[in-house]
């Protein structure tokens, strides 16, 4: 169902005014099975968010292709839904109206989409806040709205771009555990980008480690920790092994790219 195939995916940005070009992603090959929870880590600027945007088809690749269940992806669609780091909720809409957005854009009738939206709002535990506005909610709650919105359109693949990056550390952990709980219900395919190594290990069936810019996949690590995973699993020895391995890979990348010298040179 939610099987993704990325075949030699590359992206080059052309700077319009100066004519120079910048290679963001270089020959990414990746096969994701239906129902896999894949996390993607890498140094800043390695293109992990760009990768998600390509899969969501908000960007067009310079080379290569993205295939979902065998069919090439050409534009945005409700089979792939995005969750954003800064939530991207429409501030003038209530929680309910925000969650309905995807269905509204599909042309679904009001009564039908309301029912679906409310179901998903309840699923993320925000039933009491349907009529609230985003500015009245905490960061964690807003992101739950974002998740509900994405799930409402019934996607085959959930694309999550550092979704907990704007939340503080404790909330982040709780949200991760919440996400797993929701995921266990129907086990959608998830691609989850993060810079938090622990988070990447905790959530994943499989961890993709990317290189510094131009981004390539340098390691593909299956995670064999048993599910369901309680938060305490982060303290286990097996967990530390994964942590050390990824940390070593990333440290090498960060030092090699020199990006730790020039903080401002992000792209």
């Amino acid at each position: 169902m939610g099987a993704l195939l990325l075949d030699r995916l590359s992206l080059t940005y052309e700077q319009r005014s100066s004519g120079s070009s910048f290679l963001a992603l270089s020959e990414v090959n990746l096969a994701v099975r239906d129902g896999e929870f894949v996390t993607i880590v890498g140094p800043s600027g390695c293109g992990k968010s760009t990768l998600l945007m390509l899969i969501a088809a908000l960007l067009q690749p310079s080379k290569g292709s993205v295939r979902l269940n065998g069919t090439e992806v050409t534009g945005p669609g409700s089979d792939r839904a995005l969750v954003f780091q800064d939530f991207a909720l429409l501030p003038w809409r209530t929680v309910l109206a925000n969650v309905e957005l995807g269905l509204e854009l599909k042309g679904m009738r009001a009564a039908e989409r309301r029912e679906i939206a409310r179901r998903h709002i309840a699923m993320v535990g925000l039933r009491a806040f349907e009529r609230h506005y985003p500015h009245q909610l905490s960061g964690g709650m807003r992101q739950r709205v974002g998740i509900a919105r994405a799930l409402s359109v019934g996607p085959e693949v959930l694309l999550m771009d550092e979704p907990f990056g704007a939340l503080d550390a404790q909330i982040r952990q709780v949200m991760g555990s919440e996400l797993l709980r929701i995921w266990e219900r129907d086990r959608k395919t998830i691609l989850f980008v993060t810079h938090d190594i622990d988070e990447a290990i905790y959530l994943a069936d499989r961890i993709i480690v990317m290189s510094a810019s131009p981004g390539r996949i340098i390691e593909d690590i299956p995670v064999t920790l048993a599910r369901p995973r309680p938060l305490e699993i982060r303290n286990s020895p097996e967990f530390s092994v994964y942590r050390q391995r990824i940390w070593d890979l990333l440290e090498e990348q960060v030092r090699a790219s020199g990006s730790w010298e020039q903080e401002g040179a992000k792209h």
């Binding site: 080059t12 940005y13 005014s17 960007l59 067009q60 310079s62």
Partner: protein, 272 residues
């Protein structure tokens, strides 16, 4: 922005968006549009597609400008208007800054006069022309009074807010070094409030010019506004355009001058 968020596919070629992103694009497109407009105007006017005494055309306007300048008509009337403007504007700035400072220092005083200030600020200043003329006559004085009325309010408001927003830290620094109140005002508050103040003065220019021309058009013996009125009754479009251009240029020049003054007075200012 809505237009972006698409990457460049490798072989996209030179698109419109690429061209428009060029740093000089804005200037060039604007220039082209204006040029096109002028050419169209010239054709329509000179070719009498529409009556040229109604809309005139660029070359006729330029010709008329020179003949008006040569006849001395422009200089005499411009001089009168300028005098009226200065006699109203300069006092307005001085009084405005003084009152604005007073308001900033005393919240009570400000509250007392707030209704009056709001009334003068949000009402159409032109409505006051007839009564001002009744009170001050048809000569220069009434025009200067109108200019004063139109300019003093923005200056007051901007001075008050400018002072109110002065960075608390600067004031504290002065007081920590033992400055007395007057010194704090001179050394921390006035310089800090300067940008806002200058913005208020620039804002007044437009309003003052409108008030001046309106008053002159209403009734006067001499002045640019009167000239406009005179020519309007005889279908002399070219002359009117010349006068409009002069009035607009004056406003533009004054505002530009004020920006230069501000840069000179306050070189530390963050860019706008």
């Amino acid at each position: 922005m809505v237009a972006e968020t698409s990457s460049a596919g490798a072989e996209r070629g030179v698109s419109l968006q690429t061209l428009l992103a060029h740093p000089q694009a804005r200037l060039l497109v604007g220039l082209a549009a204006v040029l096109l407009f002028l050419i169209a105007w010239q054709i329509v006017g000179a070719g009498e597609i529409v009556r040229s005494d109604l809309i005139s055309y660029p070359t006729e306007i330029i010709r008329t400008f020179f003949s008006m300048a040569a006849s001395g008509e422009l200089t005499t009337n411009a001089a009168v208007s300028l005098q009226e403007f200065v006699q109203g504007f300069v006092p307005a700035v001085l009084v405005g800054v003084a009152i604005g400072t007073g308001f900033a220092l005393s919240r009570r005083l400000r509250a007392m006069f707030e209704p009056l200030v709001i009334a003068l600020n949000t009402s159409p200043i032109i409505a006051f022309v007839p009564i001002v003329v009744v009170w001050f006559g048809v000569g220069l004085q009434s025009k200067s009074v109108m200019v004063f009325l139109a300019s003093v309010i923005p200056v007051i408001i901007n001075t008050t807010t400018g002072i109110g927003e002065v960075n608390e830290a600067w004031i504290r620094a002065c007081r920590a070094f033992g400055a007395r109140r007057r010194q704090v005002v001179m050394k921390a508050i006035l310089p800090g409030a300067l940008p806002s103040l200058m913005a208020g003065i620039r804002l007044s220019v437009g309003r003052a010019v409108v008030a001046l021309i309106a008053a002159e058009m209403y009734v006067s013996v001499r002045g640019i506004g009167r000239l406009i009125q005179v020519y309007s009754t005889s279908d002399r479009a070219a002359e009117i355009f010349v006068l409009v251009a002069i009035v607009s240029s004056f406003g533009f020049l004054l505002v530009t001058l004020l920006r230069r003054v501000e840069d000179w007075l306050a070189p530390w200012k963050r860019d706008s």
